[in-house]
């Protein structure tokens, strides 16, 4: 209980300490001010003081407004002369600086100062260039934007000169831009040829860094396609290579490396095969295997949407004319071959041989695929699965189909 008394006493003591300050009432209606300082235009970072004379000593405050904000400052009093020193964060900002002299909530005087940027005291230069890659041909462009500022980051005055230079191949072009709406900008259009343009800007004595835009080739124009192969036979093993001519755009530039070229191959059945190549120095190479039977291919290459080649014809003559079929004594092992190629050599390993087994009534029992080894393909009809009896078989290899009736024992 005793503690409460202390607490209450302490509380009372605390609140008794406060004292409301009542300002002295002063009749300010008749106070008049005159601006002594006549200078209206300043350069940035100049020290600025505004002096006023008044008929009655007072504490009028000066309210300052610029694009960045607002503040109020107190005067330095000297009997009837009031001096206001503008703080540096307001003198460093270019533009209009509005001031109001306020006394007891009423504006007594107001005016505007104009602060202009420095022009030759090492301005700073920010440059932006984009996009960094454009397409040749004169339609595409990169935009260069220069934002020259003084050392306090104030944009330089409209009309300030910005010199730009850009180099492409042997040519260096110089141009002059003028600051407008805080920046100086221009579009740099692409030349007809690929390469890179180096760009630099200059304001007063300040230089920008080197900026680059890369000129990339335009869309491809039509080209031709050719092929090379080891022989003309359809052995299903050798590789045929399709090669395009150097693919260039309409301005004579080689298309970018990696451009995809789609080679479509129409076979004699009308089916569209395809293979891809990507260009290196404008040439795309694509490969396919030789077909395994007599074929006639029509090959067309596309840079889809932009260019294509004229179709070329590629004919393959059959490498395998015929093959033999041998049966074991109980007819359960069928040996196909030796399958001979165009020089009577064994066909390269891996030729697909298919056997379809039908019942007497033509019902398909099984399809077996195998690949040839040393020119020979073997099939074994296991007695556990194929009961004794008569079967029809169809053998296909290298496009040659043979039917046979066999009697399994």
């Amino acid at each position: 209980m005793k503690n409460y008394i202390y607490i209450i006493l302490l509380f009372l003591f605390c609140i008794s300490c406060g004292k409301k300050e009542t300002p002295k009432k002063q009749n300010t209606k008749n106070v008049a001010f005159t601006l002594i300082t006549s200078k209206k235009n300043y350069t940035v970072s100049d020290s600025i003081s505004l002096e006023f004379s008044t008929n009655q000593q007072n504490n009028a405050i000066l309210v300052l407004k610029n694009a960045y904000g607002i503040t109020a400052i107190k005067p330095k009093l000297n009997s009837t002369k009031l001096t206001y020193k503008i703080p540096s964060n307001f003198t460093k900002i270019v533009g209009n600086l509005k001031w109001l002299l306020v006394l007891d909530n009423s504006t007594k005087l107001q005016g505007t100062l104009n602060i202009t940027p420095e022009t030759n005291n090492y301005p700073k230069l920010e440059t932006y260039l984009g996009p960094r890659s454009i397409v040749a041909g004169g339609k595409d462009f990169s935009m260069l934007v220069n934002a020259p500022t003084d050392r306090f980051d104030n944009p330089l005055q409209t009309g300030t000169k910005v010199a730009i230079k850009h180099q492409f191949k042997k040519e260096v072009i110089t141009d002059t831009l003028r600051v407008k709406n805080l920046v100086a900008w221009t579009n740099i259009f692409s030349p007809q040829k690929t390469g890179r343009i180096l760009i630099t800007s200059l304001v007063d004595s300040t230089k920008s860094k080197e900026l680059t835009t890369v000129i990339l080739p335009d869309n491809a124009s039509n080209f031709t396609v050719d092929y090379s192969r080891n022989h003309k036979y359809a052995d299903g093993n050798q590789i045929i290579t399709f090669t395009t001519s150097t693919i260039k755009d309409n301005h004579g530039n080689v298309v970018s490396d990696g451009t995809l070229v789609l080679f479509t191959v129409k076979d004699s059945m009308g089916n569209l095969l395809q293979t891809n190549g990507t260009t290196i120095n404008g040439v795309a190479i694509a490969k396919l295997l030789h077909p395994s039977k007599k074929e006639s291919w029509t090959v067309t290459a596309y840079v889809t949407g932009a260019a294509k080649s004229d179709p070329i014809m590629v004919d393959f003559s059959s490498a395998i004319k015929d093959y033999k079929i041998q049966l074991s004594t109980n007819n359960r092992i069928i040996t196909i071959g030796p399958i001979e190629s165009f020089m009577q050599q064994f066909v390269p390993d891996g030729l697909t041989v298919t056997v379809c087994i039908y019942t007497k009534d033509g019902k398909l029992l099984n399809t077996i695929k195998t690949t040839s080894l040393k020119g020979i393909a073997k099939f074994n009809f296991d007695e556990n699965f194929y009961k004794e009896g008569t079967y029809n078989i169809k053998i296909e290899a290298a496009g040659i189909i043979k039917n046979k009736v066999i009697m399994l024992k």
């Binding site: 900026l211 093993n237 970018s256 990696g258 395809q274 949407g305 260019a307 296991d382 556990n384």
Partner: protein, 1028 residues
């Protein structure tokens, strides 16, 4: 004055030496330990703030009682997190052994028996499993303290001294703050029977003989103790609520509305033998042999309630083996609780009786009984049997983690931590794949955030909570739901600011590739980093769920206070007791000591009989195991075994099933295996196998094997035919024929353009300089349509990279209705080539996927299907669409050397051969098939993964079933809302391709009439598993 209990000291020394040294080799590989470490790291870094941003896009740690985590956190200030964890583990070991001693002393009132109990507790297989395999530190801590509190509770109820109420409540408070489930169920299963025992003892005090206790005396005693019980009951209830109040508030606010996660302890142990082993055989261990004795003792009058409780626990612990646990607990509790804890409690409860058994066996009446009946040698044999049994279970349990690791091999985290700290990589979320529980250890070491997490009760994203998956991280083990969840994160990573994936499991590589991710680098610890382009960084301000300050303060102060308080209150007693500095009255429970004089002979017989049954069961189990695994007993067995071996890549074993008459040598066989690559041989897991005989004779058979393989992309069903032959009573498989194809060139050259992007050229920690940011490649959408097909909405189309650099393509489609209300959005997943060379075209299709099984009515499919598609549930009919495409410079995965070598059509199928003309082995070829109508307008896009890869300069056959598109409907083909890199597509078309030759596309179409289409176009995409 009693002597210091030598058995207890022995138990402590052996326990600390054995467990204390082995935890360094086991604890980090357990399921849970690292999770607790992560939580501890959270407290160490922000003690008072319960929100952690690092998991699940933010979650609250108030979802788990904090004491153990906070202790580890506190200790981590001394010697790091792992020091804290091992110290707490040591503490838990000591507490457990002493707790078992005190519990044993309470039950048996015999120091010698209690000593045996403590010693057996050290070697109890259930404790070893919980600590060294599961790593459930809080659970062990809670249980140990509960054991310590039991004697105090007994004394309070018996004697009514306030001092004991205070000590028991202080210990209960510690239990509560270390583990929430332990005190709640501990109340039911330990304290209720304890109360019953106190009442019995009080009744006995009155009637002087246990046999004389009847219901009347029991009720009298109950009435006498009623208020003490009520006071204890209510105050401990209050403690349970108060001490972890924030936990209850949080559970109320975020109720567990998740789909239950399957847990092995709910399996039928007879069906799922592995679960039976882990959740039944191991915890019970040697106790199985003396079950009759345990029941006999616990059903004596004094322990009657323990007997009931023990029975309940035993039954509940059997999980899904009997229907009783499900009925007792009800559906909800059954699916939330992990039932293995019941077995844990049962086996702990059995310890004192086991101790008593050991005492009587080694130096008591049982010894006499056996020696008298069967002779001294037999007694030694039985004793030896128990010794060997205990040791066998200890070694077996300890080695389980060694032979069947539950975790992937230990991953060095430092390279990953460094990677995340580098170059502002932690401004994006990351995801780990195949890390196991080690992901928690990674999370603990970095500030970077992941969308995943390892404490599933705190999952928040509906993509996760609606699926029965613990983590995305191990989603392949959760079948369709896992992969389904993962795919959503991979397809729309922008939604989660997910940019980096650390993959420790090759299995996920294909799905990452086909969802548009690219390999960034392999870290020095072998972890592959995948990245996704076009993902914005995490915003500076991310939402969190705040809780009132008082809850935060409660959460961060009460747990440590409880332990301080309990320490101060209880240490005095321990001090007096151990130092014997002050004479203490004997605790009243020591009055009920039983003299072990005459062991029931009938019981010995019964127990022998029981042990015999157990032996027979075990032998039969072993025999079944042998028969099932004797691989060459029948034709079916050998085929199953062969596929099993192939599935686990045990090729030498697979070879042993090959018919030796085939003349294939092991090296030849290995060679043939090594040259096959593809999704089946490299990324698939055998899901199910069905074997049927096509033909069968005595000595040979032709079998048809229907296999179902799980790959990250598709469930592949494949039928194989094998010839099987019997030789010398063993069945053998005949090898399949090898492809004899011989590539034409031994050595050949190939040239290709490669690309490199510096990233940031200036070495600076600032944001990448604007000059170093590459221009986004320009894409042009050639066609785009909204299609309704089979009741599903899809956006299909074609897009071309019209720029001069290769591009990565991300396409996001949004559906709107007539009122311009957004209905759904999704990204193109695998129906697209994500990487395009300059001027390359890809067809694409966006399927609008919903969050699977978000409504509870949907039934979970019983088997795995990674390609399972859950169409989004649209409230209204979409009529318009918006397409946002983004290109980013790509410099990897630009292999375009796969060609179509042959094509053949029937009415419904397309057959053909692919040929790989380049120098990279294509692991998974993908076909993109677009369908066109008679005006050569695109109507549908489909895709197909081939199950076998295409080796260099070789062919691969494929087979594709053409679709029936007769019920397809074009809803909108208005392309005004197609945007590329934020610019309208029309403007791009005008600028980049003012004179596009549209007939090129038409000329590239293959005429093929079918239902709903007249032309098709084929594109190939290739995933390279091991780029060289």
């Amino acid at each position: 004055m009693k002597r210091t209990n030598i058995l207890l000291i022995l138990a402590l020394i052996v326990g600390v030496a054995f467990h204390g040294s082995s935890i360094f080799f086991t604890l980090e590989n357990t399921y849970d330990a690292l999770i607790h470490l992560f939580f501890a790291d959270h407290y160490a870094n922000s003690w008072f703030e319960p929100w952690d941003y690092r998991w699940y896009t933010g979650f609250t740690v108030q979802a788990y009682p904090p004491l153990v985590h906070q202790l580890i956190g506190l200790l981590s200030y001394i010697g790091g997190l792992k020091f804290g964890m091992f110290t707490v583990a040591l503490l838990a070991i000591i507490l457990f052994i002493t707790g078992a001693y005190r519990f044993g002393l309470l039950i048996t009132a015999n120091r010698r028996v209690a000593g045996y109990t403590a010693l057996l507790a050290v070697f109890s297989s259930t404790f070893i499993e919980t600590l060294h395999i599961f790593g459930q530190l809080p659970s062990i801590m809670g249980l140990s303290i509960l054991l310590h509190s039991i004697p105090e509770i007994y004394l309070w109820i018996k004697e009514g001294k306030i001092r004991y109420l205070v000590t028991s409540l202080s210990l209960i408070a510690v239990t509560v703050t270390s583990h929430h489930v332990t005190p709640i169920f501990g109340m039911v299963f330990f304290i209720f029977p304890l109360i019953g025992m106190v009442i019995m003892d009080t009744a006995k005090d009155k009637v002087k003989d246990t046999k004389a206790i009847h219901l009347k005396t029991f009720i009298w005693a109950f009435k006498k103790l009623f208020w003490r019980i009520v006071i204890f009951g209510f105050s401990s209830l209050l403690l349970i609520i108060f001490c972890i109040l924030p936990y209850w508030v949080n559970s109320k606010k975020n109720p567990i509305t998740q789909v239950p996660i399957p847990h092995g302890s709910r399996d039928n142990f007879l069906e799922v033998l592995s679960s039976g082993l882990v959740f039944f055989m191991i915890p019970w261990g040697i106790l199985l042999f003396i079950l009759p004795y345990i029941f006999y003792r616990y059903y004596s009058k004094r322990y009657l309630f323990f007997g009931l409780s023990f029975t309940m626990l035993t039954i509940l612990g059997t999980g899904g083996t009997t229907p009783i646990p499900l009925k007792l607990l009800g559906e909800t509790a059954f699916n939330i609780l992990t039932l293995d804890r019941f077995t844990l409690w049962a086996t702990i409860m059995a310890l004192p009786i086991f101790g008593e058994f050991a005492y009587r066996m080694i130096e008591g009446d049982l010894k006499n009984n056996i020696q008298k009946r069967f002779g001294a040698v037999y007694h030694r044999i039985v004793g030896g049997f128990f010794m060997v049994g205990i040791l066998f279970m200890v070694i077996f349990t300890m080695s389980l983690g060694y032979f069947r690791p539950s975790q992937p091999a230990k991953i060095k985290m430092l390279p990953i931590v460094n990677f995340l700290n580098q170059d502002q990589h932690d401004h994006w979320r990351y995801l780990t794949l195949g890390f196991g529980d080690q992901m928690a250890w990674l999370s603990a070491q970095t500030k970077a955030m992941t969308v995943d997490g390892n404490y599933h009760s705190a999952r928040r994203l509906p993509e996760l909570t609606t699926r029965a998956i613990e983590r995305l991280e191990n989603s392949k083990f959760r079948g369709v739901e896992g992969i389904g969840s993962l795919q959503q994160f991979l397809t729309v990573p922008e939604k989660y600011n997910l940019k980096y994936i650390f993959s420790n499991d090759k299995f996920y590589d294909p799905i990452l590739y086909f969802s548009g991710w690219q390999r960034l680098q392999q870290l020095e610890n072998g972890i592959m980093v995948w990245e996704k382009l076009n993902v914005p960084p995490i915003p500076a301000i991310i939402p969190k769920e705040d809780v009132p300050t008082f809850l935060k303060i409660m959460w961060s102060t009460i747990p440590v206070l409880t332990i301080l308080l309990a320490f101060i209150i209880n240490i005095q007693m321990v001090w007096y007791r151990t130092l014997k500095s002050k004479k203490l009255a004997l605790p009243s429970y020591l009055k009920y000591k039983i003299e072990y004089t005459k062991f029931s002979s009938g019981l010995v017989t019964i127990n022998h009989f029981w042990a015999f049954i157990v032996m027979v069961c075990l032998s039969y189990g072993g025999y079944l195991f042998y028969v099932e695994n004797s691989t060459q007993l029948s034709a079916k067995n050998v085929v199953t075994a062969y596929y099993d071996a192939v599935d686990f890549k045990e090729f030498e074993r697979a070879y042993s099933y090959i018919n030796p008459d085939d003349g294939v040598s092991l090296s030849q066989y290995m060679l043939e295996i090594s040259v096959t690559d593809g999704i089946l041989s490299s990324y698939a897991k055998l899901d199910s196998i069905g074997i049927s005989y096509v033909n069968k004779t005595e000595k040979s058979a032709k079998v048809k094997v229907d296999t179902r393989w799980i790959t990250p992309l598709d469930a592949v069903e494949k039928t194989f035919y094998h010839t099987v032959k019997k030789k010398r009573n063993k069945w053998y498989l005949s090898v399949s024929k090898l492809d004899n194809d011989l590539p034409p060139d031994q050595l050949f050259t190939d040239n290709a353009t490669t690309f490199f992007n510096h990233g940031r050229r200036k070495i600076t920690t600032e944001q990448t300089h604007h000059e170093d940011v590459l221009k986004q490649p320009v894409l042009e959408v050639l066609t785009a349509k909204l299609i309704k097909y089979n009741g599903r909405y899809s956006i299909i189309g074609q897009i071309q990279n019209v720029d001069n650099v290769p591009s990565d393509v991300v396409i996001k489609g949004t559906l709107y209705n007539d009122e311009n209300k957004e209905l759904a959005n999704y990204n193109a997943k695998d129906n697209i080539k994500h990487k395009l060379m300059p001027k390359e075209i890809t067809a694409f299709k966006i399927n609008f996927e919903g969050i699977a099984w978000s409504s509870t009515k949907d039934t979970l499919p019983p088997t795995f299907n990674p390609d399972e598609f859950t169409p989004i549930n649209l409230d209204e009919i979409p009529t318009k669409f918006n397409l946002q495409c983004a290109g980013n410079v790509a410099n990897t995965d630009l292999y375009k050397k796969l060609s179509v070598q042959e094509l053949n059509f029937t009415n419904t199928t397309m057959n053909g051969t692919l040929f790989n003309s380049g120098v990279q082995e294509v692991t998974i070829p993908q076909l993109l098939i677009s369908y066109y109508d008679n005006n050569k307008k695109l109507v549908w896009v489909d895709h197909n993964f081939l199950s076998e890869g295409v080796r260099i300069q070789r062919k691969q056959h494929f087979n594709y079933n053409l679709l029936n598109l007769s019920n397809l409907k074009v809803i909108s083909d208005d392309m005004t809302n197609c945007f590329v890199n934020g610019s309208p597509n029309i403007e791009i078309a005008k600028k980049m391709f003012p004179d596009r030759k549209h007939n090129h596309m038409f000329e590239q179409l293959q005429e093929q009439k079918g239902d709903g289409y007249n032309f098709i176009r084929l594109e190939v995409n290739s995933y390279i598993g091991n780029p060289k």
